[in-house]
Amino acid sequence: MTFIISLAVSIVFGAGAYLVLQRNLIRVVIGVILISNAANLFIVAAGIMRGRPPIYPLPEGQVVSDPLVQAMALTAIVIGSSVAALLLALSYRLYTSHSTIDIEDISRAEAEDAEALDRGEPIRRRRRGGGA
């Protein structure tokens, strides 16, 4: 079972890594969500014991799951999800300022802006709906 769990963790992680490398920001965020899912699964699986839920009255003679990793995973899940929400809001904000959620387009526009600033020119304003 150890092998299967770690295989599952690594496949979810690999899929997340693939999505993070995409140009589309929404896909990048989804990749981040997948990666954090993989990490949480890993944390829970890393518990010392696996068995019944750690809730009193504890079952006699049966193994009880490690409660500490569960608490840590809970914390990680919550933080992971709120970070994803923040990333989504950021993506929307980038869309309103750059009219695109394509990372390549955005970074090209940023580089142009930086050069314009270096030359002392005003930054070109972009509007929603137009191409970048």
Partner: protein, 192 residues
């Protein structure tokens, strides 16, 4: 996931999100049935959340899950009735600020320890002390801590979604106005 709507409308290929997106739903797109059921389900949802909250110390669940459950119950109203009518029906304004009230509550619980000469984050009653019962409910500060988390998560969940709903609503208003105004002007002003 809670089924967002009961009318079986298929999700469109690209933008068929109408039943899924809170606030973006103009009234009349959800069926009477959906609205009635969501209305009926609100109180049970809140009750479930309360149960998860107060029994969290002895059963699965805690302030966090209770907060999300309650938030989803309220969001169901958004889905069924649209943001504006839902806010007319329920006292939802200021729910976002509830999050900070919750944070404050957890801080109070955390700093109760140092004030009475114990360690930060010491819960009351201490190990070995008797617990005061009110019915089957145990009066311990850890529950107050969980209530703080509950309020925070409730404020967070409803806050984020209704913020998105508002932005959607604004965009839709704008796109209606665009027929009369220059489109660029319409977007330029509130992006500061």
């Amino acid at each position: 996931m809670r089924p967002p709507a009961g009318d079986g409308k298929p999700l469109g290929p690209e933008n068929g999100l109408t039943t899924d997106v809170p606030g973006g739903v103009p009234e009349g797109q959800t069926s009477v049935m959906t609205r009635a059921v969501s209305r009926l389900l609100l109180m049970p949802t809140i009750a479930t959340a309360a149960a998860i909250l107060v029994k969290g110390y002895v059963e699965p669940g805690d302030g966090f899950s209770a907060g999300v459950v309650a938030a989803l119950g309220i969001l169901m109203q958004y889905l069924a009735f649209g943001r504006e009518q839902a806010e007319r029906m329920l006292p939802l304004r200021g729910l976002g600020y509830m999050a900070f009230f919750g944070l404050l509550l957890t801080l109070v619980v955390a700093f109760r320890g140092p004030v009475v000469g114990q360690t930060l984050m010491t819960q009351w009653p201490l190990p070995g002390d008797a617990v005061i019962h009110v019915g089957t409910l145990e009066v311990i500060t850890a529950v107050a801590f969980d209530v703080g988390i509950f309020l925070l998560v409730l404020g967070y969940g409803t806050g984020v979604i209704s913020l998105i709903a508002r932005v959607v609503g604004r965009a839709e208003r704008r796109s209606k106005e665009e027929n009369h105004r220059d489109p660029d002007e319409a977007y330029g002003e509130d992006m500061g």
